[in-house]
Amino acid sequence: MDQKFEGTPKAEIRLDGRKLSRGDVTNDWGLRLQWQIKRDGEVIATPPARADISYTHPDEAPGKYEVVLQMWKYVNYKKKDGEFIDSKFIDISEPVTYTI
């Protein structure tokens, strides 16, 4: 029996200066939860978001930052060249942006 995952996870995130915070995740699958941080459209970090509800990204390089909360979506275990084929991270919040 493979694990079944019920519902679709959602969460709200807020930005206060550069400090990110999140609310509880509804329909929480309990899988890896992470902040995806992009600078000028390029992913620069994916720190974990499970243990703490707040996070401030230390990077102060100039640019436009976009942050979204993501959760791992397990579809199956299959991989090609070590990378998952069907399973992937999905956005579970609206993005927030700030500029340095």
Binding site: M1, Q3, F5, N27, R50, W72, Y74
Partner: protein, 458 residues
């Protein structure tokens, strides 16, 4: 047709007695065996002095690598220490894997046993038999599952079986040898009840214990009366086995007809916040159901985290590129977070309800994994050293019992064998493993486990 557990029970065209056995697994004591009263009188069992009244076992089928989880070796060479980093916990000097951040905050409640080992073979089934029964054995000499022993000694508290396994029995894990989750000589009346369903399915709703549409309580009761008459006829040729079956039948009907029983299985009855906290997945919802079952009278629940190791993401990290292609990515994204989320929810929930004092959670697995990474970056079976742990139930937390050498290849001090884990649980539940004897095959008195409990835990 009724569905009890995962069994289809034909009621209109015939009576399938075997189908009821699952639902009625935990019944009254077999007549030829000593009663709880006799055991208490002899001093072998003292329920009043038991530190633990209930046990929830989270059985990590496939087995996590000890070097990647709870016995990390950050100073070992690259091909041994692996990819993950250790983090501090709330107990000074104890570190665990970075992917268990929530567990790290409650390490003061956890006792890690880092020197487990056995020597009878490296198959999953060897380890399953050890951890579920305290023995390794072949199919001709089966030994009873610990939940069946608990059921046999203490019996059920109400209509719920004393011993339940969620969400399903262990299936194919490599060889066709026993998994150790059967009652064996204890008798079929004490077979664990297997849920045989997935509580994370949105349409679960105790469907496996609910008669299909059109099957009213009246019709069920009418059939019970018919069964009673058939049983009366059969008593003329009664054997111990048929008596066990009768007990199981009675238990099956109790399960079907008791609203309290059905409610205990109904995780949908929990607030969404609670269900979210456990994780909306099969393992998380099974852990939540385990809490509900204990709360409603079940004494021993095992949650099998996976029923197979093939073609799915599980702890069996061979990274083989085929049907066993679990890697560090599975651990990091699925397995460790899922376990961390559900385990800590269970601990918090039991504590908030005042149940953690007399309920122990044991987290068990079949073996460790090879200290040296294989050439694909995975780890293979390794029964020479691994870590399991206890939490709650008055167990002394915040401690590490035993250790392994510098590369996690063998116990360095305080080597612990699997039967000692079971002897510790029995002892904490008020059963003296030294003196409690049961008639085994041929009525020969035998002990459940031949081992000393781990004193540091108790």
């Amino acid at each position: 047709m009724l569905h009890i557990g995962n069994e289809r029970v034909p009621l209109c065209s015939g009576v399938d007695r075997r189908s009821f056995l699952q639902a009625g697994a935990a019944g009254l004591a077999g007549l030829s065996l000593p009663t709880i009263t006799q055991l208490e009188a002899s001093g072998a069992v003292d329920y009043d002095k038991a530190k633990i009244k209930n046990c929830i076992t989270l059985f990590l089928v496939g087995s996590p690598g000890h070097l990647d989880t709870w016995d990390m070796k950050p100073d070992a060479p690259d091909d041994i220490r692996g990819k993950f980093k250790p983090i501090d916990t709330n107990v000074s000097g104890i570190q665990i894997c970075e992917h268990f951040p929530l567990m790290a905050r409650m390490m003061d409640k956890v006792a890690l046993v880092r020197s487990l080992h056995h020597k009878t073979g490296a198959s999953h089934e060897n380890g399953q038999r050890w951890m579920m029964t305290g023995h390794d054995f072949n199919a001709n000499n089966p030994q009873p599952y610990i939940g069946s022993v608990i059921s046999r000694i203490f019996g059920p508290k109400g209509n719920l079986p004393a011993s339940i396994i969620l969400p399903d029995k262990i299936g194919n894990t490599g060889t066709s040898t026993p998994h150790g989750q059967k009652a064996a000589y204890i008798g079929s009346a004490h077979e664990p009840f297997f849920l045989g369903g997935d509580p994370a399915n949105s349409d679960f709703k105790v469907a496996n214990l609910t008669p299909p549409e059109g099957q009213t309580d009246f019709r069920i009761n009418a059939r019970q009366n018919l069964l009673t008459q058939i049983d009366e006829l059969q008593r003329r040729t009664e054997t111990k086995t048929t008596r066990d079956f009768d007990t199981a039948y009675a238990r099956a009907f109790n399960l079907l007809t008791s609203p309290e029983t059905k409610k205990a299985f109904d995780v949908a009855d929990e607030p969404d916040k609670v269900r979210d906290r456990y994780g909306r997945n099969t393992f998380g919802q099974s852990c939540l159901m385990a809490r509900r079952l204990i709360e409603n009278g079940t004494r021993f629940v095992t949650v099998n985290h996976f029923d197979t190791v093939f073609n799915l993401s599980c702890w069996d990290m061979h990274a083989d590129g085929g049907s066993l292609d679990n890697t560090y990515s599975d651990y990091e994204r699925s397995l460790c977070p899922q376990f961390d989320w559900a385990f800590t929810a269970l601990v918090e929930d039991l504590e908030q309800r005042g149940m953690l004092e007399d309920t122990v959670i044991t987290v068990l697995s079949e073996f460790g994994r090879t200290p040296k990474l294989n050439n694909r970056g995975g780890r293979d079976h390794y029964p020479s050293a691994w870590t399991n742990f206890f939490c709650g139930g008055g167990i002394q937390g915040g401690q590490v019992i035993g250790s392994t050498d510098k590369i996690g290849a063998a116990p360095h001090d305080r080597p612990i064998l699997p039967p000692q884990i079971l002897a510790s649980i029995y002892t904490a539940m008020g059963i003296d493993p030294e003196t409690t004897m049961m008639p085994g095959p041929g009525s020969r008195p035998i002990r459940f486990v031949d081992a000393e409990p781990i004193e540091e835990l108790l």
